[in-house]
Structure formats: C-alpha cells, structure tokens
C-alpha cells in the first residue's frame, strides 16, 4: 500500500496548524555502560510536560538497521518513501547550498583537481584547497557561456563546487569524469542514454572552457564531475496533503530539502530563537511549519556528549513559545539519531512525540528513548508520521463508508 497516495485521496482542508520541530540527530546512546542517553541526561521540563498530553513512539526513518543521510532522513519525516524518491548526489549538493532546482536542471558535483603539463591528474582534490581560495575560482567559472543553456556555479567547501545546467532536453544519466586515480587525465563525460547526450556534450564544453579559465592556477587548474542528476520529481505538500507549508531553518541543506517538497522557506534566522520569531510572525499565513534545529546533530557528530545534552536543553527551552501559539498538532522528532558515542548518524530509531487533544494517553511523564519505547505510537516508520499528524489535525476523511 502506498500510504501517501491514500492520504492524498483522503485529505480534507481546515484551518488547523501543524508544527514539526526537528532536532537533527536527536536520538542517542549512553556514552558509558548503564548511563543515560543524551536526551535522558538533558533537563527537558517542557518536553516532559508535553509527554503527559501527547503520545510517544520510536520512529524508523527508513527501515530498522538503515542509517539515513540528511536527504532521505528528511524525506521520510515529510512522508515521502525515501527509497522511492531518490535525490541524486548532484541534486543533493545543489540543494545543500540552497540552490532551488527546477524541472529543466541537471546538477553536477565537481571537484577541483591538479593537472600536470600533460593533462594528467596529480591530485584529485587540488591539495584540499581552502574554501577561501576555491570559492573565487568557482565564481570565476560563471564566465563559461554555452549557447542554449543557462549555467550556475556554486562554491561548496574546499575542493568541491556544484554546477547546474538549465535548459531543454537535459537528462542526468551521464558517467562521472573522475577516473578515481592519478597519473591519467579526467575522463570525458559520456551519456548512458539517448536523453542524456546533450547534457554530456554541454558538460564537455563546460570543462573545456573552465580549464582555460583555470590556466596558471597552482592547485586548482582542472576539474572532475560526478553525480550528474536531474531534480527529483516529488509531489508537493500542497498536492499531497493540501497543506500550505513553511520551512524555517538556518542551514541551506534543510531549506533546500524543504523546497524539494514545495515548502516555502521563510525568514533568515541565524539562531533557534530567531527561528521561533519567524514562526510567530508567519503563524497566520501557513498550515504547516517545519522548524529545523541543527546543533543536536552537530554536537553528536563531534562526539561531544555534554554539548549535545546542552543543545537538547536549548531546544527544550523554546517549546513554551511554540505551544503558546496553540498548534492543533505538535510533532517533536529528529531526522535520525546521532549518538555522540558514535560521532555519526546512526540507525537507531528516533524518539518522537506527537501532541494534540485527540491523543490517547500512554501514561508517560518524560520524553526520551526509554519512555518512547513504552509509548502509544510503538515503533513505526517515518512515512506514517504525516498521516498521524493529519489525522489529529482532522484533515483526513474516512477510508470507505
């Protein structure tokens, strides 16, 4: 059964508001045997108070055992089957720098590399050139002009940048040009299918012009291309759920992911508190709000348990401002777990709390991994979170008479 398709058929509209607070990488692990997880260690009086009125569970973003990247993690939260809606690597890189991909776009991850006089690669990452050096070079490449195609070049970080070709008749099935070894020249971009021939031809022209612009550069005098990909075709929140949705995030990646599902990115917040300012101001204008908090994941990735605990406490502190707006449904969750113990994303299910007046009480008085294990939502897949939110918002009709 395609649950999202069923939801699309059953959706109804009303004036209710739904807020999804995402603490990135929320789930954790004890750092020592017998100890608490980050969320268990954190003092979260506001979330714990909500636990009494809400219903908890442990959410698997993709499937048990599968560790999600940020792209699939968020698509799952947003209710899109992450294995069905694949985001190509070029598209994800473009999304990650906040580039809004359109239907005529093919995005490509590029690396600066170092070439010798014979045109052979001597360093596949241009000596991991610093961002301050590489960004102006990437911007210089905007001088490349190819008739019939619009070209965008965006710096990413160190040796990485992203190129977007926009035009008619482009497709993303083109082989990488990185030969994955030194001592040989970059490969030519080769189309895997008929539809992608024009893209390959344009990529070849791009490389030729770019090389000329890079002549004389000591490190970054060449480039390789990887992960050619068209924008994923994803039905919008409006189309699927009938929700006018807003995304509030600090980092470009999450704004980009929200845009892929048709959310409108609002505000220019730089802190969580500013994100809530944006939420308050836009409250009347949208049905659904995705609010993204990055630093729980960042400190988890750093392997810094006490700092992740502190970030969770910061996150908890803003909850009363959100509740003061009286959303009909509040969801608190993460896109995956990032245990400080592992210093990386993990497959562990994510403690998730849904609060609305129509929750069936599960008797819990705290929000954390151990509590969620006893929660009324049980263990569930991320794609069921939006159907549940819509049900509690009275936005889903009955299936069958």
């Amino acid at each position: 059964m395609d649950i999202q398709q069923l939801v699309q058929e059953l959706k109804t509209e009303n004036k209710s508001k739904i807020v999804m607070l995402v603490a990135d990488g929320l789930g954790g692990l004890p750092i020592e045997v017998g100890g608490p997880t980050e969320l268990e260690a954190a003092k979260t009086p506001n979330l714990d108070a909500l636990a009494k009125h809400g219903v908890q569970g442990l959410m698997n973003p993709i499937a048990p055992g599968i560790t999600p990247g940020s792209g699939p993690g968020h698509l799952g939260l947003f209710g899109y089957e992450p294995v069905k809606y694949l985001i190509g690597r070029g598209a994800l890189e473009a999304t990650g720098v906040g580039f809004k991909l359109g239907p005529k776009d093919v995005a490509v991850r590029c690396n600066f590399c170092t070439l010798d006089a014979a045109g052979n690669i001597t360093d596949r990452r241009a000596g991991r050139i610093a961002s301050e050096e590489s960004a102006p070079l990437a911007i210089k490449l905007r001088e490349v002009k190819i008739p019939g195609v619009e070209i965008f070049v965006e710096p990413v970080k160190e040796h990485r940048f992203v190129v977007i070709f926009r035009g008619e008749g482009l497709a993303g099935s083109v082989a990488d040009t990185d030969p994955q070894k030194t001592g040989v020249p970059p490969l030519d971009p080769v189309a895997h299918d008929e539809h992608s021939k024009r893209t390959a031809e344009i990529a070849k022209q791009f490389v030729a012009q770019a090389q000329k612009l890079l002549i004389g550069q000591p490190k970054a005098n060449g480039l390789t291309m990887r992960g050619f990909s068209a924008a994923p075709v994803i039905p919008s929140y409006e189309e699927v759920y009938g929700l006018k949705a807003a995304a509030i995030a600090v980092y470009p990646m999450y704004k980009g992911l929200a845009q892929l599902v048709g959310m409108e990115v609002i505000g220019q917040p730089t802190t969580l508190s500013e994100e809530i300012d944006v939420l308050e101001k836009a409250w009347k204008d949208y049905d659904f709000f995705f609010v993204h908090f990055k630093y729980t994941d960042s400190r988890g990735e750093d392997g810094n348990f006490p700092e992740k605990v502190r970030m969770i406490e910061q996150f908890d502190a803003i909850v009363p401002r959100v509740m003061a707006l009286k959303p009909m449904v509040l969801i608190v969750t993460g896109d995956h777990s990032t245990p400080a113990r592992l210093a990386s994303h993990s497959w562990h299910p994510v403690p998730t709390l849904l609060v609305s007046e129509t929750c069936r009480p599960d008797g819990l008085t705290a929000f954390n991994e151990k509590a969620a294990l006893q929660g009324g939502l049980g263990q569930f897949l991320a794609v069921y979170l939006m159907p549940l939110a819509l049900a509690h918002a009275e936005r889903l009709g009955k299936f069958g008479a």
Copy 2:
C-alpha cells in the same frame, strides 16, 4: 509480501474452532483529561479474566492515521488488504441492505429527486422524503422490465435506494448521473469504458421507465444514480483459509460484508444474547464464527460515553457463554475505534485480545487500551490477525523446510 497469499499456501485443516467477537468501534479515548477510556471505565471481569490467558495488542485496521469505514474495517479484520479489495459505493450500499451480490451484478446507489415540469431538478434529495413514503416507491420501481437483465430494487433510507442489474457483460465504470446542482436535468449515464457500455444503456432504459412510474409524485418524481459498481472479486474464507465460516450479526451491513468473503450468514438474531444462541446451535457446523456486536459503535457515534461503557459491559457479559463452547482460538476486537469523545470513527488503534492455549503470556490482567499497549502482540496491522488466529488453531504449516 502478500501475507494472505502466504497463509493460503500454508493452510492445513483440522477440527479446531475459531471465534472472532467484534465489538464495533471498541477502541476509545478518555472523555476528560486524565480519565479512562470507555473500555478502561467499563467493568469487564470476563474479558479481564481472559487477559491472563491471552495475548493483547493494538491493531491498526488499515494503517496508522487512517480512519476506516465499516467496509474496509471489516475486510481488514477478515484478513483482506483493504486498499487492495476496494468495495465500490454501489456495492457497499447493496451489501448494507443485505443484498447478496453475485459476479454478474452491477449495483447503483440511487437518490429520489424532485423534477419540475421542464425536467430540471428542484431538489436533489426529494425533500429528504421519509422512509415510509419512499420505500413503497422504490418497491414500485421493481415493475421496470428490461430484456436480458434481471433488476433488483431495494429501499435504503429516506431518499436513498439501491438498484442492482444482473446480466451478462455488465461492468461498473459508468459516470454518476447526479449533476450535483439544481436547475438542470439529471445527466445521462455515460460509460467510461467499452465494457460498461451495456450497463450505461440499461441504466438509461431504467431511468426512462422509472420516471414514468413516478409521474405525479409530489416529491419523488425523478431519480439520480451514483457509484455504479460491480461486486468486488474477493477470494472466499474457504479458498484462502480453508475455513467453513459463519457470520452472526443483527445488522444487514455486517451480514453483507461477511457474505462478500464467503461466510454463511446464519440465524435471525435481534440481540447479542440471541446471537450467542445462534452460535451455540451452529457450533458443530462451522470452523470459524464472526460474531458482530453493533451497539458499542452506535453509542460511540452518539457521543454517549456512559452508554458505550454500558454496551461494553453487556458485551463482556456474554463472554462466558462463548468460552463454555471451548473455542481453540478466541479473538476479541473491533473494526475500528469510535471514541464517544469524537462521536465518530477514528484512526486510533483497536485493543485486541487473542486467547488460546498456545499464547505466550504477556503478564496482563486486564483488557483495555492501556494494557494492550504493553501486550504481546504489540502494534500490528489487521491483516496479521487471521494468520495469528490460524497459527494458534494449528491450521498453518511451516514455511520452508
């Protein structure tokens, strides 16, 4: 994986008896913050005693967040993927009045309407004509004769009735004739595909003859047709599970749904106690018994918490009579939740109890939503209930060597 297909391959036969007691709309919600649900408030000594020997869980009839109608709710309980086996609205209406649809039938929901002298609709529901007035008119329409097709007309309620065409080469893909507005005449029935052309032609003839029979009626002098649908093709209980199944119900809708999956409707009970009389009498003749109790849902739909509690207590009271028959497997469940708080069907999962000698004890001593949350069945989809019942009835072989 199609679990039902797997079960069909693994089924074996023996002399065991399985009883499925369905308290319609069983699941509930607290009516006040911190209070009990209906099932938690009810005194259910018999069900609680069974809880000690059985295993509980929370069942999702379709999927988390999805509120089922009676049709999909029961199909799910019976083990049929509700989204795969869709029951068209005409078919459900016919089923609801207890009409047994066959493979050559197309059923149509009809509304009496009021037409002016020019043939335009002035009231789409014939002034919501009383059932006492409309039923004789529906029966009068049985006079319509069309060569090569058998026609059945059944009154439903107020302005509604149902027409069944039975014949060769009929299909259900015909557009509604209700224009959804007044001031215009009813639309002609138009076939959406080649297979349905004959149905559309017959429907047109039916309308023409019916209009003549209705001439002079003050309110109901016309009709519109909606939800043309053939009987759903559903494999029978015998075929899928190897079970000779009986249905015991008071209301036509549930008898009809049971008939759709090949159960034999037995008895003419008018109360729960009479339903158990029927069960006792037929005990030797069937392998599986579906016993339907309506009033838990009715009082939930009324928003009457104390009366729903009382209905649950009535339901509990008949349990000893059922257990005295010594079924190898007893299931107690509902087709969906109907919290009095919401006065409607809801998406909340349904507390479900399975009792047999081979249950692995889950340590529970009461049967209700809170207990079921801790139960050995966990949270599960309705389509797994019949496989579990068959397993405990020792009616499923091993999968693979």
